[in-house]
Symmetry: C2
Subunit: 244 residues, 2 copies
DNA sequence: AGCGTAGAGATTGTTCAACAATCCTGCAAG
DNA sequence: CTTGCAGGATTGTTGAACAATCTCTACGCT
């Protein structure tokens, strides 16, 4: 039962190979069956296959995902923590239905956190290495490309990543966690939107604008633009709710 | 099997009574054995019985808490999400050991969020009903009383509650969640402190000061004081780390 | 002696099947 | 129309079992 088809002399190389494979696997599904199941469910929810209000039956999902009930419940817990599922005792797990109040709540936090991150960059200019803004540039360009192709959900994803990377500039593990949750919940809200194009299209240019200001180290102006961006985006969602 | 011993005429009151009882029960053991186990573990950690770095053995705790391994692991998950436990794959769960970097990270978030809440009160003065500050007053007085009795851990608890109630003024579910986690992690940090008195004592007065300013609706000044409070508190923790 | 390695023992990761507790549905009685 | 009560379905919890992984000890080699 050899682990490789090479000769027996190259133990060092074999071990290195094993380590890299193990690292790859660990990167793909970070730890467990539960995480893998959670990943599948997360995609199903954020991409709209599981709509807000839907109930997730345990027995049904154990068959589809091929995991035990206990493992599935652990996956549920993971997603509950991200705000993508809610538990109702003795009734099951559901995809939450967010309302206008949640929009206000989410955007209130986004404004505080994101704007503060950008303003805080001023003091950290010396520490910020070159190329730190590259992920942001990639996201902007990905959004523009997706828009040209008319793939509006992809535009939304790219915009999300832009803001996640923006927050990442703060180098705060906890801030990254919080942002992950906030943006995940935001995706739930997008499902109430009939026409995703109108929702995402205006913000492609504005993201580029913010990126340019960051690249020029004009942080105050970037923060101001971001503030207004978030206010407008919130209003857009609230309008979508009213005209639903 | 009547639900009350009163006469039949007072339906409104009876329903209110029922609601309150149901709320009470729901508050006590909110959902499940897992939650109950998590509550016990949470207290054990925050009160120092389980110190940072300690490993939590599954078989040992299943006996102590009288739950099955699966349920215990669900409790572990809950606490992991609160930051009170960390999983090391195939090695078990541990009480995390935080360092100076975590202090900086935590306080960075605390400053942003708490100060913003206070500043935001300005715009919401008309909505804020009278008596909204009462919990804050109670916490200040509880801290003062505990200090007189020399019960410094209780002082720390009261101070924590003060800040939690302060955040509560924003009426944001998500902000409450985040704060709960931040303060829980903060408690882990307190355990590196040799003399809790020096850590908590100076802040009793300052909490009262902030409360008074809030009561007088001088929100800008309250926010300034709070900002300085948090900077000093952070520095105190960092000093405690260095002189350890 | 020092180093690396193999294997035993212990712990965690995952599954399964069963039972208890709770909720929902539909129907019957007042 | 409301109330109360089965019956069925779903979730909550348990215990046991096995697989996968880690830790520690003891052995053999240089």
């Amino acid at each position: 039962m050899s682990i490789s088809q090479r000769g027996d002399g190259d133990d060092e190389g074999r071990r290195a190979w094993l380590r890299s494979v193990a690292a790859d696997v660990a990167r793909q599904d970070r730890s467990s069956s539960a995480e893998r199941a959670a990943n599948i469910l997360r995609r199903s929810i954020t991409e709209g296959a599981l709509r807000p209000g839907a109930q997730l039956s345990e027995i049904e999902l154990t068959e589809v995902l091929d995991v035990s009930r206990n493992t599935l419940r652990e996956a549920f817990r993971l997603l509950t923590h991200e705000g993508l599922l809610v538990y109702k005792l003795h009734r099951g797990v559901f995809v939450p239905e967010l309302d206008e109040q949640d929009v206000v709540d989410l955007y209130r936090l986004r404004r505080v956190l994101e704007v503060d991150v950008v303003r805080g960059l001023e003091k950290r200019v010396p520490e910020l290495p070159e190329g730190r803004l590259e992920p942001l540039q990639d996201d902007v360009e990905a959004a523009e490309a997706a828009a040209l192709a008319g793939r509006w959900p992809a535009v939304g994803t790219a915009n999300m990543r832009f803001h996640r990377h923006l927050i990442g500039l703060a180098d705060s593990r906890r801030l990254d966690d919080i942002t992950g949750r906030l943006l995940a919940e935001l995706r739930l809200l997008f499902h109430v939107i009939a026409r995703p194009q109108e929702l995402h299209e205006p913000y492609i240019k504005r993201n580029r604008g913010i990126f340019e200001l960051l690249a020029e180290r004009r942080y105050e102006q970037a923060a101001d633009q971001l503030q207004q961006y978030l206010l407008d985006s919130e209003q857009g969602l609230l309008d979508a709710f009213k005209s639903r």
